[in-house]
């Protein structure tokens, strides 16, 4: 099992760092899945994480100048590692002006992801900072826990309002209630609602637009059969939604959510070369 990769371009390094920072704000531990073409940061929905799950996919070619992987075996040419993204974030933080950053899988007293950054220096010899981040190698028999999540049979899919606006609304609602209802319909309308004994607040968004899912949208009932004004809703813990919105460091080129009525809120953020999906279960 071998993994080595190198980033030379400063822009790629910054972008990769921002992705890692976003992931580190969402979870303390996650699985890093490495394949020949992609990197994935995966959090599988477990009770420990409050049922949220995350799937972040990066196309390695957009970040790394060199990328070599030898997986567990020829027919399973992948590596699954459990890692604390915060460590990765910390290691990348001071390497932002590096001439090059190399990442490789090593074995010290335990398996590690070693990050070595070559930094500019006052002399002819570069400064080298090396970080050894301990990881756990996940055996093949557990890989099925970390498969790509299926697109749920959603009832409504809608583009989100501008991130900044949505975040400030959610931030304020968090002061008033622990739970929030997000409802939307196929007419491009979305409401964020909180309802407590003392106060009810609803914020209305209009003309958001609905993504055009085609036949590959795994829809059993096509959107045309659904009353466009009918709202699908999900009542979720505000904290989880806020955590997701706060973590975003870059404005996505596309931000949308799919709602399975009273079941799941599925948020999808797309950048040029990164996609981030976040599933928040609905509570009663």
């Amino acid at each position: 099992m071998k993994f080595r990769a190198k980033i030379i371009d400063v822009g790629c390094l910054n972008h990769f760092t921002r992705v890692v920072n976003t992931v580190s704000r969402l979870t303390k531990a996650c699985v890093l899945r490495l394949t020949c073409d992609h990197l994935y940061f995966v959090l599988s929905g477990r009770v420990a994480s409050g049922g949220v799950s995350m799937w972040c996919e990066l196309s390695q070619g957009n970040f790394f100048d060199e990328f070599q992987l030898e997986g567990v075996s020829a027919d399973a040419n992948e590596i699954f590692l459990e890692v604390a993204p915060e460590n990765l974030s910390r290691a990348l933080k001071t390497a932002q002006n590096a001439k090059s950053v190399k990442i490789k899988l090593t074995k010290k007293s335990c398996p590690c992801l070693t990050l070595a950054a070559e930094l500019p220096s006052l002399s002819s010899v570069s400064r080298v900072v090396t970080h050894d981040i301990p990881v756990d190698v996940i055996p093949r028999r557990l890989w099925h826990d970390f498969r790509e999540p299926q697109m749920p049979d959603f009832d409504v899919s809608i583009y989100l309002p501008p991130l900044k606006t949505m975040k400030s609304v959610v931030d304020r609602m968090k002061n008033l209630s622990n739970y929030l209802v997000l409802e939307a319909n196929l007419n491009g309308e979305m409401n964020l609602k909180i309802d407590t004994d003392l106060v009810s607040v609803t914020t209305h968004f209009k003309e958001l637009g609905n993504p055009p899912w085609g036949d590959d949208g795994s829809q059993s009932s096509s959107p045309a059969h659904r009353d466009p004004d009918l709202m699908a809703e999900a009542r979720v813990e505000i904290r989880k939604l806020q955590q997701f919105l706060t973590g975003q460091q870059v404005n996505p080129s596309r931000a949308m959510c799919n709602i399975v009525d009273r079941r799941i809120l599925h948020l999808i953020f797309l950048h040029e070369d990164v996609s981030l999906q976040y599933f928040i279960p609905a509570v009663v």
């Binding site: 567990v72 090593t106 335990c110 055996p139």
Partner: protein, 380 residues
């Protein structure tokens, strides 16, 4: 006692006090013929700092007539006088420190613009002097660097990091976070920064050495050095001897003395230490042995393989080290279990000829002195 600092030196004085506050809770003040000594020590006596401001630092410097005035006061009260550095810059024209021995008060007066006077009367406690025993000139290894280099280096380590290990070879310097030898340590993230000797203004290394000391207490000096633009010198010897960081100019000398871990084996770290005298291996990507690791894992039922600690646990008494053999080691070693650094040696032997004249030898500091000073002997 009557000292007056003016202009930019008021801010330097304030910064010195803020630096000292990173070390201990009390400020020890002693006006000497050579200048005003401001000192602090931490509670476990493993870090000591001293700023000596020469008479030339002041517009006016008058030491007390009886030459043996020493006092201490809570450093927070003094910091409160010099609270806002920005406003000091803007509005304070001079700062006067006077001793009012009748009322037992140290009076600090800030003369500000527009005729405004801010007077602070601080109560103090007379005490024995505080002086750690150290001798920079006898250290085998001396490095000197611009403060920017030191600050950039320290940036790679988290602010919460306690202990750092400094290793030197003939042409390289390594800084690593030091991790304790316990069950959790192998899961800790290890960071190592390697610098070439060329980056230092002065690089004199006697022999390959590795010392471990507390980084937190050092940051106060780095902040001071960076703002003053003065180069920082590092003096150190073998593990167990203190490391001294020093910033000097014509009117000021600051010394931060930190105890180091006494070790009988190399610090536990992940990095291959076989390379020091040769050039850094360009790429040791091929030296992984994940395969053997993985094979072992697949055949066992354990999801996570156990690891074998690389060194047997050391008895805690090895970590305590005192300069002089005749001291009661037991007394020092009975510190709280998580204090591993040796206490700096604070006097009780006659000075050696190599002692600098301005390091007055004092006996061990008495916390609450109820007797007169004349019973204590002094050598200078």
């Amino acid at each position: 006692m009557d000292c007056v600092a003016t202009g930019g030196n008021v801010k330097v004085l304030a910064k010195a006090i803020h630096s000292l506050s990173r070390i201990g809770e009390e400020l020890y003040l002693e006006p000497l013929e050579d200048g005003l000594a401001l000192r602090s020590v931490n509670s476990s006596r493993s870090a000591f700092a001293c700023f000596l401001l020469s008479p030339l630092f002041f517009q006016r410097y008058q030491a007390p007539s009886d030459q043996s005035f020493r006092c201490k006061m809570p450093i927070k009260s003094v910091q409160a006088v010099f609270k806002s550095l920005a406003s000091l810059d803007r509005s304070v024209e001079k700062c006067r420190i006077q001793l009012n021995s009748e009322k037992n008060r140290l009076t600090i007066t800030l003369h500000c613009k527009h005729g405004l006077l801010k007077t602070h009367n601080l109560s103090y406690q007379e005490c024995e002097g505080l002086q750690a025993v150290f001798d920079k000139e006898s250290c085998a290894n001396v490095l000197q660097a611009q403060p920017r280099l030191m600050v950039d280096t320290v940036l790679h380590f988290p602010p919460s990091l306690e202990e750092v290990n400094l290793s030197v070879s003939s042409d390289r310097v390594w800084l690593r976070n030091h991790v304790e030898d316990d069950a959790d340590s192998s899961r800790a993230m290890m960071t190592e920064l390697c610098l070439s000797s060329e980056e230092f203004d002065h690089f004199a290394v006697g022999s390959q050495t590795s010392v471990t000391f507390c980084l937190k207490e050092l940051r106060g000096l780095l902040v001071f050095a960076e703002s003053s633009g003065l180069p920082v010198s590092l003096y150190f010897d073998e593990p167990g001897s203190p490391v001294i960081l020093s910033v000097t100019d014509s009117v000021l000398e600051a010394n931060f003395v930190l105890a180091t871990l006494s070790e009988d084996s190399h610090p536990k770290n992940h990095v291959n230490t076989k390379h020091p005298d040769t050039e850094q291996p360009p790429d040791d990507f091929m030296s992984d042995d994940m395969d053997s690791f993985l094979i072992a894992m697949e055949t066992s039922e354990l999801p996570v393989p156990s690891h074998v600690p690389t060194s047997p646990p050391r008895p805690t008494s090895n970590r305590k080290h005192s300069f002089s053999e005749e001291e009661e080691e037991e007394a020092l070693a009975e510190g709280p279990p998580n204090k591993k650094f040796c206490s700096l040696f604070f006097g009780s032997v006659l000075p050696t000829p190599s002692q600098l004249p301005n390091q007055t030898m004092q006996s061990q500091e008495v916390l609450a002195s109820d007797s007169e000073d004349e019973n204590q002997t002094e050598t200078s």
